[in-house]
């Protein structure tokens, strides 16, 4: 389980999410499938901007729950998705 911020804004981060192919855009974590989400739009959508800031959740934060796929495929997928910024 890891998180990272995309060197971009909300829209740029969304583009990265949409570009992922092997990694699925979905809520949840800890399963065998690698899932990514943008907490500000789903898992933490109930928090207002101040609460998000207090929790350290920026709009370009990505949460990644790593599954059991081949690690090189996952790295390649993230690399190609980041090129969408």
């Amino acid at each position: 389980m890891m998180s990272f911020v995309v060197k971009s804004d909300f829209e740029g981060t969304k583009r990265v999410m949409d570009q992922l192919k092997i990694i699925k855009l979905a809520t949840s974590l800890g399963g065998v499938t690698t899932l990514a989400n943008q907490p500000a739009t789903n898992t933490h959508v109930a928090l207002n901007p101040e609460e998000l800031a207090k929790a350290g959740i920026s709009e370009n934060l990505v949460r990644l729950s790593v599954g059991t796929e081949n690690v090189n495929l996952l790295i390649e997928d993230i690399e190609q998705a980041l090129s969408a910024i």
Binding site: K14, D18, L25, T27, G31, L35, N37
Partner: protein, 140 residues
């Protein structure tokens, strides 16, 4: 495909994948699709639809257990102003919830407002007449 399965499939997935972030945001904001089975699940929705139509209501809610249904429906209709009247033979889990847990929230189990009953009554199979009203739960 021009047909549907006679037996609705059981969807086991906890989560749902999206093609685009915009689709995900739309589902989170407008419930236009599935995002997480705790909220909506195609199999559970099928059961809810069937139950509602059998009972003559517009909507029904499905839960993972009887106590989940009981806890949710009581919590939805009570606050510290509430008083609950319950039958003697109420299911043990419900009894514990009513008499041990709710008082810790300041809800007394004494007189009226929410009438709580299950039918048939656990173990004794006593049939209670459920009035068609705001909420009826059959959990046992």
């Amino acid at each position: 495909m021009k047909s549907k399965p006679v037996v609705p499939p059981i969807y086991m997935s906890a989560t749902y994948k999206f093609d685009t972030s915009d689709d995900l945001i739309d589902v989170v904001q407008n419930r236009t699709g599935f995002i997480y089975s705790r909220w909506d699940n195609p199999t559970v929705m099928e059961v809810e639809k069937t139950l509602a139509s059998m009972e003559g209501y517009d909507h029904a809610l499905g839960f993972g257990s009887g106590m989940a249904a009981i806890t949710n429906s009581i919590m939805a209709f009570t606050n510290q102003e509430s008083r609950i009247i319950a039958i003697r033979e109420v299911y043990g889990g419900t009894h514990e919830f009513l008499f041990s847990f709710l008082p810790t929230l300041g809800i007394d189990i004494i007189t009226k407002k929410l009438r709580w009953s299950t039918t048939p009554v656990c173990l004794l199979i006593r049939i209670m007449t459920l009035q068609k009203g705001k909420c009826a739960v059959s959990a046992e």
